[in-house]
């Protein structure tokens, strides 16, 4: 049996509000094995992003337990959770969030600079990541010279360049047309197969859902369905 990369037990998240609080996640149990290519789906307000935040160590739970890459999130201090994100977790955002003053190459290089990786090693890793997403010819371009699809490819390369064990992608195709969305998903699926990196998507886009090997549906912060597709 594959070891769980993310282990969630009875997880809850309560956001304090004037009326006593809003329960974003409740009684959630989930095991995500290493190498998974899975989606968290559900309507707006269902708790997808909250769960991604907690898995990504950007936020803490209110109750229950969550273990990410062998670390209990509730016990990590700011320094430890930052180190975990820097070394082992990659993020892909809906709006790419590329730094406009840097070239494609430099945007992808940034996570490695934070890891203080030597220059030669950095170069090799950046070129490898750009090759994965098929955008080496654009390495000297600035983000404003790229199409939407190219921008998201750079964003994937940036998330993958440090060879993370886990990639969290929040609505990665929301700003893309169908053709670009499918290309991006093909690329990520291929990387998942080649490197064994675990991908967790938060989405309500059917195109994305169709690509998932496993789909966990959240409704009102609770797990409503957990479908493992045949053949995955």
């Amino acid at each position: 049996m594959t070891e769980s990369l993310v282990k969630i037990r009875n997880l809850s998240k309560l956001y304090p509000t004037g009326g006593g609080g809003f329960l974003a996640l409740s009684e959630l149990d989930l095991d995500i094995p290493s190498g998974a290519f899975m989606g968290l789906v559900g309507p707006s307000g269902s708790g997808k992003t909250t769960l991604l935040n907690i898995i990504g160590t950007l936020d803490n739970q209110s109750g229950g337990e969550i273990e990410v890459l062998g670390h209990k999130v509730s016990t990590l201090d700011a320094k430890e959770s930052a180190a975990l994100r820097a070394e082992k977790i990659g993020f892909i955002f809906q709006s790419y969030n590329l730094l406009p003053v840097y070239t494609v190459y430099e945007n992808v290089e940034l996570p490695l600079l934070l890891l203080k990786m030597p220059k030669a090693q950095r170069h090799e890793a950046v070129m490898q990541a750009l090759t994965w997403v098929g955008i080496t010819d654009k390495r000297k371009s600035r983000p404003n010279q790229l199409s939407g699809g190219e921008g998201q490819r750079v964003s994937i390369a940036r998330a993958m360049v440090k060879l993370p064990q886990l990639v969290l992608a929040d609505e990665p195709t929301a700003n893309l047309d169908t053709e670009n969305s499918l290309n991006i998903l093909d690329t990520m699926l291929q990387i998942n197969k080649d490197t064994g990196t675990t991908f967790i998507f938060a989405t309500h886009d059917q195109k994305v859902i169709d690509y998932m090997q496993r789909v966990v549906t959240l409704i009102d912060g609770k797990k409503a369905k957990d479908d493992l597709k045949t053949g995955s």
């Binding site: 700011a78 809906q94 969030n97 003053v101 840097y102």
Partner: protein, 421 residues
């Protein structure tokens, strides 16, 4: 990493150009103001030392009490031997006698009848001592004629000379009183005219030889003041205070006519003025740091808003808040260094120009009694540049420190949400 920071700064003009411009302008103004004020202070010290205070002076106790009135009747007489002794005791100082006095100048016509009369302020120096002549830059101040070579010759201020429509080699009569209060009058030939560039002196001054003044005022072998100058001609308060204490310990007692040594800072409120100017220079620096710091703080805040997404992304990628904050400080330091160097270089050019050509303040000092040269030259000194550069760096880093505090208030839990849009 530094290369990465610098690349970002160079490419993003709004992150670098505007702040560099502010720092450049601030440093330029500051180094110039400091150089100007420093030049002004030096001019004031120089002029006071030359004409009024010396770096040191020896006067009687009684004279010191009323020194602003220049009471030559309370000065020294027959002190040649003592003067020689003082010179031997303090060889590191160059000593010269002076007498300051007031008199009425009468301008007669060919038949000896009065045509014009007016108050004059007399300064008597030892014309036989070239250093004493050089002390007041007499050769440079000479406008017409020549320096007196014989007894009974005087120099008259060019302004008074023109006003009274006198001629060179014409005779004027000085009327005054002797050391003992008796009436005294004596004829003098005008050998030349002078303009010292100090309106307080140029309005109605005469310069005469010390021996002529001694004869006129009945002060044989005397002087109202003995001036002392350090050989470098640059005022050094520490050295001067040391000499003063030694002299006073040795020679000064309670007798009214006992010699007393005064330092430049003991006279004409110069001590206060120098402290005040030092305070003003410090104030300029602090005000610069505050103003530029606030402007850069504001620019940094706007910049932080513009780069909100970038900071959020970097925090999400695992960059620590203090690392991000340090990055901002490095950016600020780079801006501070570049802006300060450009500002200092431009400032040096402006200072150099006014160091050579000076500012002519003659129009503004016509009615003042302050001992300041009409033309003020900026003081070109490395320390003045440093005084501008250091606050240039401090203000940029201070501005960035204040603006960057927001990073620590950033809630990482909301990054996904923020970066989605």
């Amino acid at each position: 990493m530094l290369k990465f920071v610098i690349k970002g700064l160079i490419r993003d003009r709004s992150r670098s150009f505007f702040p560099v411009l502010i720092v450049t302008a601030g440093v330029l103004v500051t180094v110039f103001l400091i150089a100007f004020m420093s030049g002004y202070i030096e001019s004031m010290v120089r002029q006071n030392a030359r004409f009024d205070t010396g770096h040191l002076k020896i006067v009687t106790n009684a004279y010191a009490e009323k020194i602003s009135q220049k009471p030559y009747d309370l000065g020294f007489i027959e002190t040649e031997a003592e003067f020689q002794q003082w010179k031997e005791d303090f060889p590191s100082v160059r000593w010269t006698p002076r007498i300051y006095f007031g008199a009425l100048m009468d301008v007669p016509d060919d038949e000896g009848n009065t045509v014009e009369q007016g108050d004059v302020f007399g300064m008597a120096i030892d014309f036989s001592d070239p250093s004493a002549v050089q002390d007041i830059h007499l050769n440079e101040a000479l406008i017409q004629g020549r320096i007196p070579e014989a007894a009974g010759e005087i120099l008259l201020s060019e302004e008074l000379f023109s006003k009274l429509q006198l001629e060179l080699d014409s005779t004027v009569t000085l009327l005054g009183s002797t050391l003992y209060g008796a009436m005294s009058f004596r004829n003098y030939i005008i050998s030349g005219t002078v303009s010292f560039g100090v309106h307080a002196l140029d309005r109605g001054g005469i310069v005469t030889d010390i021996e002529d003044a001694r004869a006129f005022l009945d002060m044989p072998g005397g002087a109202s003041e003995y001036f002392g100058f350090l050989p470098s001609m640059v005022y050094d308060d520490d050295a001067v205070q040391e000499i003063k204490q030694e002299f006073n310990a040795k020679y000064n007692d309670e007798d009214d006519f006992s010699p007393q040594m005064l330092a430049l800072t003991d006279q004409n409120d110069m001590g206060f003025m120098l402290q005040y100017m030092g305070f003003a220079l410090g104030l300029i620096t602090v005000v610069f740091v505050l103003i530029i710091g606030i402007v850069l703080w504001n620019a940094g805040l706007l910049n932080s808003i513009r780069r909100y997404g970038e900071f959020g992304l970097r925090l999400a990628m695992g960059e620590r808040k203090h690392h991000l904050y340090n990055w901002l400080l490095v950016e600020a330091l780079a801006i501070g260094v570049v802006g300060s160097l450009i500002g200092a270089a431009l400032g040096m050019g402006v200072i150099q120009y006014f160091h050579v050509h000076g500012f002519n303040f003659g129009v503004f000092t016509q009615d003042t009694s302050m001992m300041v040269e009409n033309i003020i030259y900026t003081n070109l000194e490395l320390k003045n540049l440093l005084l501008g550069i250091i606050p240039g760096l401090v203000s940029t880093v201070l501005g960035a420190m204040l603006a960057g505090i927001g990073i620590f208030h950033r809630n990482t839990a909301k990054l996904f949400k923020e970066l989605e849009t």
